[in-house]
């Protein structure tokens, strides 16, 4: 059997998921024998356009991104959303709440008291460089996605497992049950019992409950499970002194795009 050709693409992101892919080689160097990587801008110069599996990192924030995504979709048999930015919109979508004008002003404002030198004036929204869309989107908002690798960053072992499932011709599966399952496996004392709060009961497992394991509450980077009991979750948080708004605020770190869609 010839090795499937694999390409990695990056859109708006921190590239941490691609780095996690590179890190996977530390424990799974045999990955390089199993697939042929034909494009991986962060790590290689060659750009092969003939690939079967496309891993796409980052959210879609520009019109030109949509066209690029469409081309990827056309070429690839399987498109995998790599990481929270691609899967959910993630951190990038936090800005979606504000009008683009205000967002751009925040960074490139000529009157900012922290940036004095300004020879070229303030960029306009129409500038070639600043031509971003008002919302940063998950790639699924643009093209169909065959599999997801959730997380910020992705989990190395999950990446390895999903890749193997793709090689086998199986449907890659990531858990669709709450994080609490893995948290209990790890025998963590629940953060609620330690007087903290956590999004675990409504967030998708798969990371090994890494944040609760290290004493930090789940921030929701893997997105909600498909059938969360939000009413009950609200009661749980209310008991911990939090309101529905607090829940949404916590959830908004990675889930702003989803929340705005529901509204």
């Amino acid at each position: 059997m010839s090795r499937p050709k694999v390409a990695f693409f990056d859109f708006t992101s921190c590239e941490g998921c691609q780095l996690t892919v590179v890190d996977t080689l530390q424990t799974h160097p045999e990955l390089l024998d199993a697939v042929e990587i034909v494009q991986f801008r962060e790590a290689m110069t060659e750009k092969g356009e003939d690939y079967q599996i496309a891993f796409v990192e980052g959210s879609c924030a520009r019109k030109s991104d949509e066209e690029r995504l469409a081309r990827i979709r056309q070429q690839a048999q399987i498109v995998v959303a790599l990481g929270a930015c691609a899967h959910l919109g993630g951190i990038n979508a936090i800005r979606n709440r504000l009008p683009l004008e205000a967002v751009v002003n925040c960074v490139y404002n000529e009157n900012g008291d922290w940036s004095e030198t300004h020879p070229y004036g303030r960029p306009r929204l129409s500038d070639r460089l600043i031509n971003v869309e008002p919302t940063a989107k998950p790639i699924e908002a643009i093209i169909t996605v065959d599999a997801i690798l959730p997380g910020c960053p992705i989990d190395r072992e999950e990446f390895a497992r999903v890749t193997r499932q793709l090689l086998q011709g199986s449907q890659p599966r990531v858990p669709d049950y709450p994080l609490c399952v893995e948290c209990k496996f790890k025998e963590n004392v629940c953060l609620f019992q330690r007087g903290q709060v956590c999004l675990g009961p409504v967030i998708r497992a798969g990371c090994g409950a890494i944040c609760p394991t290290y004493g930090e509450s789940c921030e929701g980077c893997r997105g909600p499970i498909s059938n969360p009991n939000m009413d009950s979750m609200q009661s749980v948080l209310a008991e911990a002194g939090l309101t529905a708004d607090d829940l949404l605020s916590r959830f908004s770190m990675f889930g702003t795009y989803q929340m705005m869609k529901l509204e």
């Binding site: 990056d10 859109f11 708006t12 992101s13 921190c14 590239e15 941490g16 691609q18 780095l19 996690t20 590179v22 890190d23 530390q26 160097p29 990587i37 801008r41 962060e42 790590a43 290689m44 110069t45 060659e46 750009k47 924030a61 520009r62 991104d65 993630g90 951190i91 990038n92 936090i94 800005r95 205000a102 967002v103 002003n105 925040c106 960074v107 490139y108 404002n109 009157n111 008291d113 922290w114 940036s115 004095e116 030198t117 300004h118 020879p119 070229y120 004036g121 303030r122 960029p123 460089l129 600043i130 971003v132 940063a136 960053p153 890494i210 394991t213 290290y214 004493g215 930090e216 770190m253």
Partner: protein, 429 residues
């Protein structure tokens, strides 16, 4: 008649998206740009209104490779704003975590991004077959660096445990001992790395510029210090804007900076030039083996300076672990925070150079304004100045060669373009 028009689109083997554009005719350089086309991510808008506790978690996502650098700097800024002074143990652990990230980032850069240029391959992947021992060594070293970060931060990319005032989880003695033993064993790999880079010939290009780095009296500092330049300036970090003077360039979504010259350089080479005397003796030895002396003006040698820092960080990490084990890890909770309005600046030497975070926090503990100045942003003007100096000297060469020379130059800076566009707020209401 020579007319060179060259565009390198989507520069590869760097973090983020950048283009190089050269337009020259008859020896005259009309355009010479490093365009930064990375989509802006607007972290300032994201931070605005978020609780101070989230700042380090959000800004860590500015960059997947220097997330510890961002998180640490962010915590420094927040703690300065809220008047929190972390314990000595917290500071030691943060330092150790930081060393792990510098190691990880430098190893990634020199082996996986730079080395292929010297072998003439497009990526590290074919080297796995042609030079397996080199690649395996790189992976081994990188794994150790990553594991070191994970032992303290809980995860290699985007640390979990670091929080305002301390850590939510502390490493155990045994984990530290195990890392220490592996660091000792890594000395051999480190030596081999020095040997490897000794055998490479870097392009002989020099252009004197200003080198800026943080400096402390008693250590080769990565976290905090005084802003110090080879032009004999010294400033407290709170006055960072006097050095950075950000401005916009029409071909870049990342802002540029300049001090009193047209540009300055930050990063491994700048640190080396500013802080050579603070390097670990073994790192100094490695420097002389590599033919590196302060003040070195060849930007290509930034990679060599990174090798020197690998030696330094590996030694420092061992010493730090010894210090931690000697005092014993106290099971201490993060420092309590009294929420009040405030403003603070944090500065660190991230792998690619000086990184500043500057926040304002409101009475309710929510962030009202923020500014981050990223090393690569500070280097952009300097890279372009280098390009302008370099191009005329190589204009008569084939286009491939020019373009490779330029790409290698940009790559030597280890630019993190995705970081550089993650500019934060510059304005407070």
């Amino acid at each position: 008649m020579s007319k060179v028009q060259l565009e390198v689109h989507y520069l590869t083997r760097v973090e983020g998206h950048g283009n190089i554009v050269i337009d020259a005719a008859d020896g005259e350089l009309k355009r010479c740009e490093l365009q930064v086309v990375e989509t802006p991510r607007f972290f300032e808008a994201m931070l605005r209104g978020r609780p101070y506790t989230e700042a380090s978690h959000i800004t860590s996502r500015i960059c997947g490779i220097c997330s510890v650098g961002h998180a640490t700097t962010s915590l420094q800024a927040t703690e300065a704003a809220l008047g929190v002074i972390p314990s000595e143990q917290t500071q030691l652990l943060r330092k150790l975590n930081f060393l792990g990230e510098v190691l990880d980032s430098h190893i990634l850069h020199i082996y996986m991004l730079v080395a292929p240029d010297f072998v003439g391959t497009g990526s590290v992947f074919p080297l796995a077959k042609s030079h397996p021992h080199v690649v395996l060594r790189a992976l081994r070293m990188k794994k150790l660096a990553g594991d070191l970060c994970a032992v303290i931060g809980g995860r290699h990319t985007h640390p979990i445990t670091m929080c305002v005032g301390g850590f939510t989880h502390l490493p155990g003695n045994r984990e530290l001992e195990e890392i220490r033993a592996r660091l000792e064993a890594m000395r051999e790999d480190v030596t081999a790395t020095v040997e490897l880079f000794k055998s490479l010939t870097f392009p002989p290009f020099e252009r004197v510029t200003e080198y800026v780095a943080l400096r402390k009296p008693d250590e080769y500092t990565f976290i905090g210090g005084t802003i110090t330049s080879t032009d004999k300036f010294e400033l407290p970090v709170s006055d960072y804007r006097e050095v950075t003077n950000e401005y916009l360039s029409p071909h870049s979504t990342a802002k540029h900076t300049r001090h009193h010259r047209d540009s300055y350089m930050v990063g491994a080479l700048a640190r080396f030039n500013v802080n050579y005397d603070r390097l670990h003796p073994r790192a100094q030895e490695a420097a002389s083996a590599l033919g590196l002396k302060p003040t070195c003006a060849n930007p290509y040698l930034n990679s060599a300076a990174q090798v020197v820092e690998i030696v330094h960080c590996a030694e420092e990490a061992i010493a730090l672990i010894d210090a931690l084990l000697k005092r014993g890890i106290e099971p201490e909770a993060p420092k309590r925070v009294e929420v009040h309005a405030g403003e603070g600046v944090g500065a660190c030497e991230a792998p690619r150079g000086t990184l500043y975070h500057h926040y304002r926090v409101g009475d309710d503990g929510r962030i009202t304004g923020a500014n981050c100045i990223i090393p690569t942003g500070q280097n952009l003007a300097n890279i372009e100045a280098d390009m302008r100096a370099l191009v005329p000297t190589i204009l008569n060469r084939p286009q491939d060669e020019i373009s490779l020379g330029l790409e290698m130059l940009v790559r030597a800076y280890d630019p993190c373009i995705s970081c550089a566009t993650h500019m934060l707020d510059v304005r407070f209401e």
